[in-house]
């Protein structure tokens, strides 16, 4: 029995070493990415896929990534996980054990990122999360998880600071959040932090995902006459909520929808009703950064994007491309494709890109950023904050 176990352990050891050697000796850099190309997150998944392709085309056109003085082409291994968490888990396993990728890019959102990071952690493979911002994902003790978005609390603090200074009359805030990882976290963070900024939370509720009517919540809100209405959710929820607010005649000096105005479809879907809605986001194409990346500046990234697409890039596109830039730079700094060395290089990474600075804190979050606050003014998005790139002042709605 002992002999059998020892034999099995030896075979396993051989398998593992063969696996590592195969990965190390690879002629290409293999990056794995479970993508939600179908299902409820298809829209976001496709944005990720497009951003990855933009980066891949640029990098491979330049000969690939420099690994210890030798340029290696990049192969992106992607699978559609159909917006299904369980499938994302299986695909992450397959990418690591079967496709033998060097790095995994996590799917859209905090929930699925947590799942994939859990798998990769077992194998010691670095995971870079382009679109996951909930602190609850990064406080799990994962040593190989890095995210390009800033923490949610940073988004909320930025708004509290700007709104209370530019509209000192606001006292009462009403919060309605989608009961889903990111939107819930953003609603909950404001509920907890608003009182310390001198605001009274007069309404705070959640709605289930799949809700196709907000009239009950909005009618109740109307009776409470809030100065600041703050709703979180995804584009379809927010378009519906804004329309129903208009239907029942509910408004307030400040109406914030996280992260509605960051997406073009929010403005297109609402037309004049989108006017005055504020939000905060991780990136906007009007920011102006010069960076050490395949594009070199925010404008160059924007132009490259516009040469392929008719719409404007949003933060998902930018954060996804930036996540791959982080991987590229980490591999270059590490001079190796060994997962532990890539993780180590990611931990000490300190770069500026078209997307802004990327520096990961002790939990793996990219915290060193000033986050743009937006408002729809004249059917276009204007940046209100930070002051260095502000295009307009806050306009209150009534």
């Amino acid at each position: 029995m002992t002999r059998t176990l020892a034999h099995a352990a030896y075979v396993l050891f051989l398998g593992l070493t063969t696996c590592t050697c195969a990965a190390q000796a690879a002629d290409v850099v293999k990056i794995g990415a479970p993508l939600a190309l179908t299902g409820t997150l298809a829209d976001e998944g496709k944005k990720q896929a497009l951003a990855y392709d933009l980066w891949l085309t640029r990098v491979n056109a330049a000969g690939g990534i420099d690994v210890g003085g030798q340029k290696k082409k990049v192969e992106l291994v992607t699978y559609d996980y159909q917006s299904d968490g369980k499938r994302a888990q299986q695909i992450a396993e397959k990418l690591i054990t079967d496709d033998k990728v060097h790095v995994v890019m996590s799917p859209f959102g905090s929930g699925h990122t947590k799942i994939v990071a859990g798998v990769a952690e077992r194998y010691g493979i670095p995971v870079v999360a382009p679109v996951a911002s909930s602190e609850s994902v990064y406080d799990q003790g994962f040593k190989n998880l890095f995210g390009t978005l800033a923490p949610n609390s940073g988004l909320v603090d930025a708004m509290l600071t700007l709104f209370t200074s530019e509209a000192p009359g606001i006292k009462r805030v009403a919060i309605l959040g989608r009961d889903d990882v990111f939107p819930r976290d953003m609603a909950e963070t404001l509920r907890v932090r608003a009182p310390s900024a001198g605001l009274e939370v007069v309404y705070s509720e959640f709605y289930s995902s799949g809700t196709i009517d907000h009239s009950a919540a909005l009618s109740k809100m109307k009776g409470l006459a809030p100065d600041w209405i703050y709703i979180t959710g995804y584009s379809q929820d927010l378009i519906l909520a804004r329309k129903q607010m208009h239907d029942i005649g509910l408004t307030a000096p400040i109406v914030t929808m996280i992260t509605g105005p960051a997406y073009r479809e929010f403005i297109d879907g609402l037309g004049p009703l989108s006017e005055g809605v504020t939000s905060v986001t991780w990136w906007h194409h009007t920011t102006t950064y010069d960076g050490d990346d395949p594009w070199g500046s925010t404008k160059a990234f924007y132009d490259d994007f516009k040469s392929r697409e008719s719409t404007d890039p949003d933060y998902i596109h930018a954060a996804s491309a930036a996540a791959l830039v982080a991987v590229q730079k980490a591999i270059e700094h590490a001079g190796s494709l060994e997962p532990a060395k890539i993780s180590s290089a990611l931990r000490t990474l300190n770069i500026t890109t078209f997307y802004g600075p990327i520096v990961f804190d002790e939990h793996g979050m990219n915290a060193a950023r000033e986050l743009p606050i937006l408002q729809v003014q004249g059917q276009t998005v204007k940046v209100l904050f930070p002051a260095s790139i502000a295009q307009a002042k806050l306009v209150t709605l009534k």
């Binding site: 829209d43 309605l176 709605y207 009517d213 009618s219 379809q236 005649g249 037309g271």
Partner: protein
């Protein structure tokens, strides 16, 4: 005022639910087919209304007629060419087929139109009756739901085609022996179900952002409404829709929107335990 507004909200929401569910109920009741395509048909109607509005400048209330006719043709063809081949098999077989077809239609739409939410950004205005606010688009949806249900009820009661549909529902074999071409009736009924989904979808494009992500939500609502209202009964879909709308509106106000759906589903389970036929259902379809 508050109480009245909550009730009005509930009735308007209920009418939308009824609008979503009428076609689904008809197909389930007559064909004994749980049409998993129904949600995608509604979304397809919504997309067609959106493109007709954006690219051709057609108001959704105008394009609705053409879209309904087109969806009828699609539904008729699917039933005639595919579903009829296995219609006599157990309900799970037809459910699996429509599930497979739904995946094709759903993914086709996601590929062709992307899942980006799109809405016909028209404002039909609101009516303000002694502080109770009623959006006009919802009233139109309500009228449509009532009109479609009423029309269907009349067709089933008074026309030869309607009597044939009812006869097939009661006893397929006996209807065939009486000279009714059962496969044709099935195709027409499935076509009518798709027609209603298309009409409802084009109207919903004004109220909701259209995205393939909503297909499952609409299908789920149609399912619950049919179970509450009762299978095999067209007015049952209306009653079920209104009941669910009122329940969700009142509970959303009293215990918070987070629990509104849970309460709706709990009451559905309670109803299934105490009255399996639903509110207006016919014995034998539960």
């Amino acid at each position: 005022m508050d109480v009245l507004q909550i009730l009005v909200n509930g009735l308007l929401l209920g009418a939308l639910y009824a609008c979503i569910a009428v076609g689904f109920s008809l197909v389930w009741g007559v064909l004994n087919v749980i049409n998993m395509l129904h949600g995608s048909f509604i979304i397809l109607g919504g997309y067609l209304a959106f493109f007709a509005w954006r690219d051709l400048g057609l108001h959704p209330l105008v394009s609705l007629v053409g879209i309904a006719a087109l969806l009828f043709a699609i539904g008729w063809s699917l039933q005639w060419g595919l579903i009829n081949r296995i219609i006599a098999r157990p309900v799970l077989t037809t459910l699996t087929l429509t599930f497979g077809l739904d995946m094709i239609v759903y993914n086709f739409m996601t590929l062709a139109f992307t899942a980006t939410p799109r809405r016909v950004a028209l404002d039909l205005g609101v009516l303000n009756i002694s502080d109770v606010v009623v959006p006009v688009d919802r009233i139109v949806a309500m009228v449509l739901a009532f009109a479609l249900t009423g029309l269907l009820f009349l067709v089933l009661r008074s026309s030869t085609l309607g009597r044939a549909i009812v006869a097939v529902r009661m006893d397929r074999d006996a209807a065939a022996l009486m000279g009714i071409r059962v496969d044709r009736i099935y195709a027409i009924t499935f076509g009518l179900g798709a027609l209603m989904a298309g009409a409802c979808g084009s109207l919903l494009a004004v109220v909701y952002p259209v995205t393939t992500m909503m297909a499952d939500q609409f299908l789920g609502k149609a399912f619950v409404v049919c179970v509450i209202g009762g299978l095999g009964s067209v007015p049952g879909a209306l009653a079920g829709g209104l009941a669910l709308g009122l329940i969700e509106s009142v509970s959303g106000h009293l215990v918070g929107p987070q629990h509104a759906m849970t309460i709706g589903f709990s009451l559905m389970i309670l109803l299934l335990m105490t009255r399996p036929t639903g509110l207006l259902g016919t014995q034998g379809y539960e």
